[in-house]
């Protein structure tokens, strides 16, 4: 721990030598401390909400909505954490893939025959079909971006900073393309369609769509987990994330693993985009504003750890929604940022990250 502890120090003495301040510091910088700090933050948010006149059922509803939002964030955060694990750079273009998924599904749905509304939800089969089709479409875009932008950099052993900057460029390029194709106005999958809230016990009000979004997000997350744990390609992804050089040595075609990582990440991002669009509306900036919560969730869970990303996403989703009971909801990404700072100060490796003490 400290520099003056030499290996030949008696074991018994070492504990006494550590000053109280040092020990408190070490305790604060542990995973448990981080978990407690995050929980305390949520409790403080609840209390602040109550002080601002929110009722218990309001706060419960917001918490449940937060879990739903967490489901959406986790779809993006898993992709982010996978791309970081396998390709070793933070992909700032991930938010644009979310937006692209939402808009892509919008256009695809407009070509499909409109079926009856699937009550109690507000959408029909055509939106589900459009989402399923948008996933490979966005994957294709991600693969093309990788081929023309990231792969040449990778082959020249570009640094992390260069790859991250390139991804920022890709983010701006994709966002501008979305503005050009779909325009800057808000779009709705089903303009004007009512989506009444269901009344659950304890005064919780929630839309059927929100439940659908959460359940679908969890199904996709579970499928992703199975893919990573049980399939050959999933194990190869984890192996490549763990040790890319050794993956090559073992005969794993790392370029193919990278391609599948993009397909998985982009598909999840596209699905997340459709769900986000269904829960609110389509804006060219929607993915960009999700980027900070997604990064915060991925870092909170420990970069490169998909299960951690889900936990992080739910915590951030709840914090963002509950915070809207005492501050303007537009500050949502700011709330994610505050949580990110707490993580980076206490335990930069995150709740489930590699290494650390």
């Amino acid at each position: 721990m400290s520099m003056q502890d030499t290996p030949d120090d008696a074991v018994g003495r070492r504990h006494d030598d550590r000053s109280l301040r040092e020990r408190i510091g070490a305790a604060l910088r542990s995973r448990v401390a981080l978990g407690v700090a995050l929980l305390l933050t949520l409790v403080v948010f609840w209390i602040l909400g109550q002080r601002n006149g929110a009722s218990l059922s309001d706060l419960l509803s917001l918490t449940v909505w937060g879990i739903m939002l967490g489901g959406i964030i986790s779809l993006g955060a898993i992709g982010l954490t996978l791309v970081y694990g396998v390709l070793k750079f933070p992909n700032f273009a991930h938010g644009a893939l979310v937006t692209l998924g939402a808009y892509g599904a919008f256009t695809i749905a407009s070509f499909l025959p409109r079926g009856p509304v699937l009550l109690p939800f507000s959408f029909g089969w055509e939106l589900l079909a459009a989402m399923v089709l948008a996933m490979p479409a966005v994957s294709l875009v991600a693969l093309v971006v990788d081929r023309v932008l990231f792969r040449p950099l990778r082959q020249r052993d570009a640094s992390l900073v260069l790859l991250a900057m390139a991804s920022l460029a890709a983010a701006f390029f994709l966002r501008s393309s979305i503005y050009l194709i779909w325009g800057p106005d808000f779009l709705f999958y089903y303009p004007g369609r009512a989506n009444p809230a269901l009344h659950l016990p304890l005064g919780i009000r929630i839309q059927a769509d929100q439940i659908f979004v959460f359940v679908l997000a969890m199904i996709l997350v579970a499928l992703t987990w199975l893919l990573l744990e049980r399939t050959r390609m999933g194990k190869a992804m984890r192996a490549t994330a763990d040790n890319p050089d050794l993956a090559q040595v073992r005969g794993i075609n790392t370029e193919r693993v990278i391609a599948w990582t993009w397909v998985l990440g982009a598909s999840l991002a596209a699905a997340g985009g459709v769900m986000y669009g269904l829960a609110s509306q389509l804006r060219p900036e929607m993915g960009f504003w999700l980027l900070l919560p997604m990064f915060a969730a991925a870092i909170m869970g420990g970069l490169g750890n998909p299960v951690g990303a889900i936990v992080g996403a739910v915590i951030i989703g709840i914090a963002q929604q509950v915070s809207s009971s005492f501050i303007n909801p537009a500050y949502g990404p700011g709330v994610a940022f505050v949580l990110l700072v707490i993580v980076l100060v206490l335990q930069p490796q995150g709740l489930f990250g590699k290494g650390g003490d």
Binding site: L246, Q248, V249
Partner: protein
């Protein structure tokens, strides 16, 4: 694919691995200069030499992690210089690197499966069982993460993974590095057993004495050049080799 026969040597027997006048390095620095060497089928060959002699660079060049600037590498009659590592693995050569040679986040069983990434799906469990026969210790700990294992156990995982595809040639980079003397003995015994069961082995070692004793032949590499070659015994008894590189 161009099929080129390598030069016949040693009474006409064709070499499994034939490194022909290879020059290689990183960036502006040339590390290997005009190195030639051969491994025959089933043979165990040691490369010894002082630190910085280019032993690991030679391994990496053979395995396609580094491409030769001049010269060629032939494996089983095919020119493999310039191929990707995974294409070389496909042809039956595997490599055990010196450090970080296991996937620490994966279990022992998953590590072995990754060693057989290129194999047909059906027979992976049979291949795993074969490795467990070599290393019973790995069977006991098959569901443990490789990162939680001792140095010797990791070396077993690394060797086991490399053997999953039943290669014709295994390259081993300093298998004894960082192990206790007792573990070194165990690992070398295993290497001998593996070699007896079929595959040829090319081994780079600091522990030159032990390695040469077990090898059919050896090469002494110094400052990126091939200085001596001969049978293990010849090199061990060569006074100059002894004086320069065996510390004897």
């Amino acid at each position: 694919m161009i099929h080129t026969c390598s030069r016949p040597i040693w009474g006409g027997s064709m070499a499994l691995l034939d490194v022909q006048s290879v020059t290689a390095g990183y960036g502006d620095t040339e590390i290997l200069r005009d190195v030639s060497m051969q491994v025959r089928r089933g043979e165990m060959v040691s490369i010894i030499g002082p630190n910085g002699a280019g032993k690991s660079t030679l391994m990496k060049t053979i395995f396609g992690l580094l491409h030769p600037r001049e010269g060629k590498v032939f494996f089983d009659g095919d020119d493999i210089s310039g191929l990707h590592p995974y294409q070389i693995v496909e042809r039956g050569m595997c490599y055990v690197p010196q450090v970080s040679n296991v996937f620490t986040e994966l279990t022992v069983a998953e590590n072995l499966e990754m060693g057989a990434f290129l194999a047909k799906k059906g027979d992976i469990s049979a291949r795993k069982e074969r490795i467990y026969d070599y290393f019973p210790r790995l069977k006991e700990r098959r569901n443990q993460r490789a990162g939680k294992m001792s140095g010797g156990e990791r070396q077993m995982v690394a060797m086991g993974s490399a053997l999953m595809l039943e290669p014709k040639l295994v390259l081993m980079d300093e298998p004894s590095a960082g192990l206790s003397p007792k573990m070194v003995g165990v690992i070398f015994e295993q290497i001998k057993k593996i070699n007896d069961s079929g595959p040829a082995i090319l081994i780079v070692e600091q522990n030159a004495q032990l390695s040469l004793q077990m090898s059919d032949r050896g090469y002494v590499l110094a400052s990126g050049e091939n200085r001596f070659e001969g049978t293990g015994e010849e090199l061990l008894n060569d006074p100059e080799v002894g004086r320069l590189y065996l510390g004897g």
